[in-house]
Symmetry: C2
Subunit: 500 residues, 2 copies
Amino acid sequence: MEKLIEKYQQIRKKIKAYQFAMTLIHWDSATEAPKGCFEERGKNIGVLSEEAYKLSTSTDYIEVVEALYANRELLNDILHHEIIEAQKALDRMRKIPQEEFVAFRVLQASSQETWVKAKHAKDFSLFAPTLEKILAYSRKYVTYVQTDTLQGYDVLLDDFEHGFTMADYDVFFDELKQEIVPLVKKISKKNKPIRDDFAKRHYPVNKQKEFVGYLMDVLCFDRNYGVTKESEHPFTTSTSSKDVRFTVHYYETDFTSAIFSAIHEIGHALYEQQSDPALDDTFSRGGASMAMHESQSRMLENMIGRSYSFWQIHYPKLQEIFLEQLKDVSLDEFYEYINRVLLSYIRVEADELTYPLHIMLRYDIEKQLFDGSLEVKDLEKAWNDLFYTYFGIKVLDASQGVLQDMHWSAGMFGYFPTYALGSSYAAQFFDTMKQEFDVENAISQPTTKIVNQWLKEKIHRYGSTKYPKEIIENANGASFDSRYYIRYLYQKYATLYEVK
Amino acid sequence: MEKLIEKYQQIRKKIKAYQFAMTLIHWDSATEAPKGCFEERGKNIGVLSEEAYKLSTSTDYIEVVEALYANRELLNDILHHEIIEAQKALDRMRKIPQEEFVAFRVLQASSQETWVKAKHAKDFSLFAPTLEKILAYSRKYVTYVQTDTLQGYDVLLDDFEHGFTMADYDVFFDELKQEIVPLVKKISKKNKPIRDDFAKRHYPVNKQKEFVGYLMDVLCFDRNYGVTKESEHPFTTSTSSKDVRFTVHYYETDFTSAIFSAIHEIGHALYEQQSDPALDDTFSRGGASMAMHESQSRMLENMIGRSYSFWQIHYPKLQEIFLEQLKDVSLDEFYEYINRVLLSYIRVEADELTYPLHIMLRYDIEKQLFDGSLEVKDLEKAWNDLFYTYFGIKVLDASQGVLQDMHWSAGMFGYFPTYALGSSYAAQFFDTMKQEFDVENAISQPTTKIVNQWLKEKIHRYGSTKYPKEIIENANGASFDSRYYIRYLYQKYATLYEVK
């Protein structure tokens, strides 16, 4: 048994070394590689990916995982969890005919480019034939891997967020539909004037950087174990709890963009930095799931970062840095501006309140695609109709509608719902925190260390050694409940916009 | 044969992918990795190095190299050269008893730390026992790999610079001893006053960066295929001609440090950028040798970068950027300052004229260590005596004397002479250039593209497909001759200091 574990650890160590290299190469590509290097670089990435893939599909690895799985009751908790997941992945891999998997990989290699072209041309028909093939594979994938307890779209939902199926999401989105869709319409109708002239002023990048640096300290991002830099699209990445990195994109004419994307990414980064360092050498470090990670970034960005308490203490610093730009802007005006509700066609540009509606629309459509009631040829119409139902505005063209996201072009069905689920996790954690300590007071301190400590204790330190539902029950003393999120949204925005 | 070549190319592609990853990881470590990540990072580097080492010592690789070597007359010039070098490395590897090689590697792992401690304690006796072991291995190494034509210290010299042995170096250093040692003494005695008050003024880093950016354009560093950043010690690295990187260290109270180290590194970088891109997928891209690389950096730094013609056109820009600091400093004063001769104990701080004397001293000592006339126990005294002979000043302590460099602690005997050889190559190339076109005029242009074009044509494009002596003969139409260097040094400094 000891020998088996040692063998497993040795292969894991190798796989992790490749992951380490790939993560750093990707970081370099996104943040500083010279633009002329990518063709040459592609060759090297190809070799390293192939080596890593070979290792994780080698007979050596498969044999050792299976042997450990057979004796899993003898393993410690961490390894037990890790081996169950590894075995699950192997089982899944075996159920898919290899030639179909390879054909799908080939399709994937060009599908994104086809999607980009269609999006630029604002023409869904250019992408439809490709999407049909992707959907056909995904539907077949579902039939290959489904079990007695997990069928259809649930297979995909569970892939992206273990333990969550339509049974959970239906309740969640129904509540959202009943409570939040009408609220958005009321707010929209009210047309409350919100001051935004100051947002169009010029905010130099170096000053924005200064404020982001200040926020890093406020939120306790540990610079001894982290790096920040600029990139086209903000992201967070890490190779261990000792090396966690995030990026920011600065816009001189949209100064709150960098502020909130930085807070969002620091939410991700803290999860990685506060994961138990003892997990660094395992596959169990870092976030428990997509939605769990998103719960941390969105709690920091929205529940803390867009709260009145937070800006009560930090707005003076912002005003100090942007003396000219903000001298005539009150805290209340700034607070209203950063929480304004604006109907948008584009998911990634949506505000906190309307964001989950964008997800709900995608969930509804994916459900229909996998229960067979919707086909690709009718997809654009279905999208536009639903969008009108939820938002009350008409989609202008496919690039602002059905073609806006890249996910489907990569076959990632079942991924979108985790974005909204993350906010919902966050609201429930936040509610529990409020029962346990004075959160408003904690947010009003020079740093958020009290909140961070709670998150570390209840969530971060476990890395991915537990499933999301376990973490939720453990942290909240109760199972997942989406009503916290609905209530949070309703209370915040009904108050802000003075609607009942 | 085709199949053999293909197999070789495939293994080479893999080795290159590891080299790519290791280069980027090293770059990251030196320029931005958070200081707390190195322990974790070390594990991953260990795995990747081991994989790369396994690959280049695998039976597959050895067999294919040997088969290609046996049929080398059928290979194209580039592969022919590459396979001869690969076979040479394999032969060498085989001649060293593996257990001795491993024991030396183990010794190396701690020898540097021992050296650092001894240097800090300024106590050679703390390092002497370790150095004895290193020397013992190096002497044995020589006996293992020496041939009828290459014996003793020549083995090591040839390792670092193919084709150069004591027969070449003795002539070189004898000339240096006869011509330059007396010149240095004359200059020293003359004690010419050189204005340096302005150098102690404050030069903000961001302004220095602006000027280095200007120099990058003057010297035609191609930003499409390159990156620059800051690090503790300046260096240049690359993964292909399409991705070449160099670093700078800025000191606010020593503004010429960044200027000349940047010019130096750009000299290295241009060699990499101007190497034929067709060589990118081979082991033959980049510099032909240590000294050849150094010839490019030192020509740019000293012969061009410290010339009057260069500053005649670029000093106004420097004055424009440092308006306050340099407004009362004339071009002549600046020129004299950047070419001042100062006797120094430390090699890396030496000026252009006295630098080769530091190398000569090390060459003399290494020669004695390998002909058996000097032992470690007498090394410190030998160093101090020679230093007094060449420089006329007495060494104060071992940290400024025999312990100053790390090279011997890593067993790198035979390396130092390449530093001086590089300058000598550069002087000969520079002389040839002057015969072929108006170099002073080319240096006085807004960019150095005429010079760069010559260097590309005669040196850079060949990468390491030719041996240094071939490149020299090809570029100069004559074999290596160190008198160009001696003459260059003599003329420049005798004129500057008005000594005969």
